[in-house]
Amino acid sequence: MRSRFFLASAAFLAVLLTVPASASGATVRERLGTYFATWYSSVPGTHVVATETREVTVPGFSAWRIVRRPDSESATREGPEESSLALYDAARDEVFLGEILHDPDRLKAGKPFDRAADLPNLTVSLEQLFGLPVRVELAGAGARAALLPMAVLIRQDKDAYAKRQGFLSADGASLLLGEFCPLSQGLAAWREKLLAERPGIRVETGRFIATEFLDFQCERCKRRTPEGRLAVREHGGALETRFLPLVKQHEWSYAASECAAALAAASVPLYGRFEEAVFARQEGMSAAAARELAADIADAGGARAAYDAEISSGRARDRVLADIDLAVRIGAHGTPLFVLDGRLVPGQRGFLENALILSHGNSSHGNSHGKPVPSSTPAAPASAPGAPSGKNRP
């Protein structure tokens, strides 16, 4: 019989604000509650509670269930269930952000992980989880004694595998897909740090950088990418582009991303032309047509050799895979998705614009008469606990 790895929870979606460094005297429970509350507490009439749990048992770590609850017991509020698991590493003061697959039966059985017998079953389970072919790579011992570092390679295209880092518990009962992050560092700052490590495609420059993850086959991306770029520019910033091809739903989006990455490396303006052309022809596009289009644009721009080199060397592929990896790490799952000051901003119309006005002023959206419009109530406090750092990427 196949062993089953039960997926326990996704904990790393959308926790937004910088959390103040370890509040003196605060318990782990309180700190975790504050850490995750920065997302949940904005829902009116609710608060977030962290409760230690034994749903997952990994030696050396405490497990916590994070739940959003109504403020009053009698209050009921409709909405999606919001509950997740978190692992806390007290020795390093780090919290695990990611998905946890856990098999309580296996834990009870107390069998050690047998690479030869268990790895194929693990691979099958992961293929079913992701809906795509996967390979699993297990490393030797890592920095944490109870956890073996591992990587899941998820097929995006021929010879193109996106990597998800993770850990396997020594008993094989728990599989962790994700990474440990300092509890003292808020997610916004952490995301900004990750994004700054490797810049996206920047067709223009500005006082600050916002990021968009896009999929060339997504209909909303076609509309929102130019709108988002314009909105960011109007506030003095620049929008950088990263790729998140949703290959399970979109058959040519990976190919288009790879071509786009190659063009951008050869010449950023050529990338701009490609983006516009792909979106304009989205309805009738295919992988072959996207490649042909990119090659034509490279030809016309005198950059064919450079473009070909990016493709044949695998550099374009690696750039797309790195973007996918980054998207997963910061919690981006759909497209279009914007990242502004470390916050994930959904792609629907208006939300990026709203966040831009609040965070970066209303430089170009003045009212038509040039007069301030009075607020009906006093403005919000100048600062609030856990506000984003506001640091801009170079």
Binding site: F5, E353, V373
Partner: protein, 689 residues
């Protein structure tokens, strides 16, 4: 976020399902068992020939004949060409992966397949005639579902008489090849070929209860066709209960109601019946005649989507639970029927060393791109459910296995089939053989084929006004026609059928979108409007044409005229129009549209919101608020409240914005963007200088 237990359970279920699916792989498809089949042309000996036809003991797709006549050795290998309307890769990939289309899986696994590009306008009679002739609509002139009776001006179903060029079947027949054609669009009356020909009027979807006069060549086949229609075309409640989860009495009531395609149960019965009629006729006649070229068209693969796509997995948020529960597996089960039929054709191709080609005229939206806001059954929005990319697949000894990276067009299959048959193509055919799919395919010689081939048709009874009206009603129910398009025109005179205003409009669309002949497009739209001055579609098309030619004032006039005349989805249309001007970097033109929309539709929440957004994008936050502000007390849509909140933020009224976002959240709690915005408003530092 999902709860851990739910996702764990889902994973466990996946693992549990893996075993039966794997077991199913070993089964051989296309089961062959003895069967006494009815045969076209043998009405007296077939069961059910007297009185009310009994439902078939076993359906045609379930049981194949045990023994078939052998095709004589020698000669060029035959071609079996099956047209499946609206077949789309997304649905066949899903069903093949789920084990519900094993024959399709075999066909693409062992054969060659690719996406095939369709063209605008994506309408079946137009595209299937291009597929069958290899030439453009402006040449073949099948441009609508209807044509005009030259004597009465009555609109009647489109016939082959409107076609101005011979089809592949005529060319092959004239070259001495044996030909069999069943059900091809716009092929009535039956054409005289070296073989057999069953016109599209045998289909119970659109032509139920119409006379079968002229439906078959040789005419002696008519009686047998009638018998097959009566037997295989009739699907009873017991069988339908396997496709839908609807109480049996309700199914019986629907079937007895006299309702048409607007009733899903009746529609399914007709779709299934028509599919079986086409398949049974083609299969039986194929076995008796063993043609060199067989062409079979099945309409149901598209129709079933128009009726049930919104009920089909993956679940659409806009579909009520009750509908999903009743009709959620109808499409899967119908496609399984089609797959069994494909299995029978694979068997014939294998036994007769034939090349089997399966293709569609366009794709269909089966995924998250299904347009919730646009009905698949409404005349004005049905086409939004079509995708431009269709399916092309070939299987047989001459086929080079693989998945094609080239994307052929609808002009390419005709010269491909001629090349497979070793026949020349006409010089006017713009397509090229799809050589990547075949081993050693020699491009056909180009000659003036059309000029030397005469098309002869059998005599057919004229359709009465009442019958034509019945046909028009069915087209309406399927979303192909608007009410105005059913109205008669002035008699055109002469012997040839005239073109409807819809045909002129479609010709204009083809010229504008596919040929790039803008002058020709304008003339065609003007002709459509001269025939029907209140026809909104050519008005809208004129608007697009004027916009393409930078005549923005005229474009706006045509746009609002078309909306007043009934063009679909005014808010969405206005939004797209403004967005397009943004794309064209003409914001002033977009703003002019927005201001005019505010004047013309002051009570429409959706339109006012779109117009206000246009002002916001033009950096006029106060103007946006002034436009949308009156909606605040009555707004019913979270989108409107979110927009108002944005405008409030923009003018510095953060607390008002927060209040509006909270109202929005109360209407729809599942809005992460709103939660996010609230959080920023409540905790944000002041904007940077």
């Amino acid at each position: 976020m999902t709860s851990g237990r739910d996702r764990g359970a889902a994973l466990a279920l996946l693992l549990a399902l893996a075993i039966p699916v794997a077991c199913g792989r070993g089964e051989r498809s296309g089961t062959i068992s003895p069967e006494k089949t009815s045969s076209v042309g043998a009405p007296s000996s077939a069961p059910g020939s007297a009185g009310t036809p009994a439902p078939p003991a076993e359906s045609v797709e379930s049981v194949d004949v045990a023994v078939r006549p052998k095709r004589p050795a020698g000669g060029s290998p035959p071609v079996i060409w099956i047209g499946l309307d609206g077949l789309d890769w997304e649905i066949v990939d899903r069903l093949a992966a789920a084990g519900k289309m094993p024959n399709w899986k075999r066909l693409v696994g062992e054969g060659w397949s690719t996406r095939i590009a369709s063209f605008m306008p994506v309408l079946s009679p137009i595209i299937w005639t291009t597929i069958a002739t290899g030439v453009s609509p402006e040449t073949h002139r099948i441009l609508d579902f209807q044509e005009v009776d030259p004597k009465t001006g009555q609109k009647v179903p489109i016939t082959g008489r409107s076609r101005r060029v011979p089809a592949i079947w005529n060319l092959a027949s004239a070259a001495g090849k044996k030909v069999g054609v069943v059900g091809w669009w716009a092929s009535h009356p039956a054409e005289e070929v070296n073989g057999f020909f069953i016109s599209d009027h045998a289909s119970p979807i659109l032509y139920e209860k119409l006379p079968l006069s002229g439906v078959a060549y040789p005419s002696a086949l008519e009686a047998g066709v009638g018998q097959i229609v009566a037997r295989d075309g009739r699907v009873g409640a017991e069988e339908l209960a396997r496709f839908v989860d609807v109480p049996r009495p309700e199914i019986e009531k629907a079937l007895a109601s006299g309702q048409g395609m607007e009733n899903p149960v009746v529609a399914l019965a007709r779709i299934l019946g028509a599919t079986r009629v086409a398949h049974r006729s083609a299969r039986d006649l194929y076995d008796r005649n063993l043609p060199d070229l067989t062409m079979l068209y099945i309409e149901g693969t598209d129709e079933v989507g128009h009726v049930f796509a919104s009920d089909t997995p993956p679940r659409l948020a806009c579909t009520p639970d009750e509908e999903v529960a009743r009709y959620g597996h109808a499409v899967d089960d119908y496609y399984a029927v089609v797959d069994r039929m494909l299995g029978q054709w694979l068997r014939r191709a294998e036994e007769d060393h034939a090349t089997l080609i399966v293709q569609s005229d366009h794709g269909f939206k089966w995924g998250e791109d299904r347009p919730c806001e646009r009905s698949s059954m409404n005349w004005s929005t049905a086409a939004y459910w079509h995708r431009l990319d269709g399916v092309f697949a070939a299987w047989g000894e001459r086929v080079r296995p693989g998945r094609g990276s080239v994307k052929p067009t609808m002009f390419d299959p005709a010269p491909t089939v001629l090349a497979l048959l070793g026949l020349p193509a006409d010089r006017t055919m713009p397509g090229r053989p799809i050589s990547a799919a075949f081993r050693n395919l020699v491009a056909p010689a180009r000659t003036d084929q059309f000029a030397h081939v005469t098309v002869r048709r059998v005599a057919a009874e004229e359709m009465s006004a009442a019958q034509a009206s019945e046909y028009a009603k069915k087209l309406l129910a399927l979303g192909y026609l608007s009410g105005s398009e059913a109205r008669p025109l002035a008699p055109t005179g002469g012997a040839e059928p005239g073109m409807t205003e819809g045909a002129w409009n479609n010709l204009g669309l083809y010229e504008r979108e596919t040929s790039g002949n803008l002058r020709g497009a304008r003339e065609a739209f003007e002709k459509a409007l001269s025939l029907r001055p209140d026809y909104h579609s050519p008005m809208f098309n004129m608007a697009v044409l004027d916009r393409m030619q930078a005549r923005d004032g005229e474009a706006a006039d045509w746009l609002f005229r078309s909306l007043r005349a009934g063009h679909a989805d005014p808010p969405g249309t206005i939004r797209q129009w403004i967005t397009e001007y943004d794309r064209l970097k003409k914001p002033a033109a977009g703003l002019a549209i927005a201001d005019r929309a505010l004047k013309e539709y002051p009570a429409s929440e959706d339109i006012v919101r779109e117009a206000a957004f246009a002002r916001f994008r033009a950096h006029d936050c106060a103007g946006a608020l002034a436009a949308a502000g009156p909606l605040e007390s009555t707004a019913k849509s979270p989108q409107t409240l979110n927009a108002l909140a944005l405008f409030d933020t923009c003018v510095g009224r953060r607390d008002d914005a927060a209040r509006l976002f909270q109202r929005s959240l109360a209407l729809d709690p599942n809005q992460p963007g709103v939660v996010q915005s609230l959080r920023i408003i409540q905790g944000a530092a002041p904007p940077k200088p």
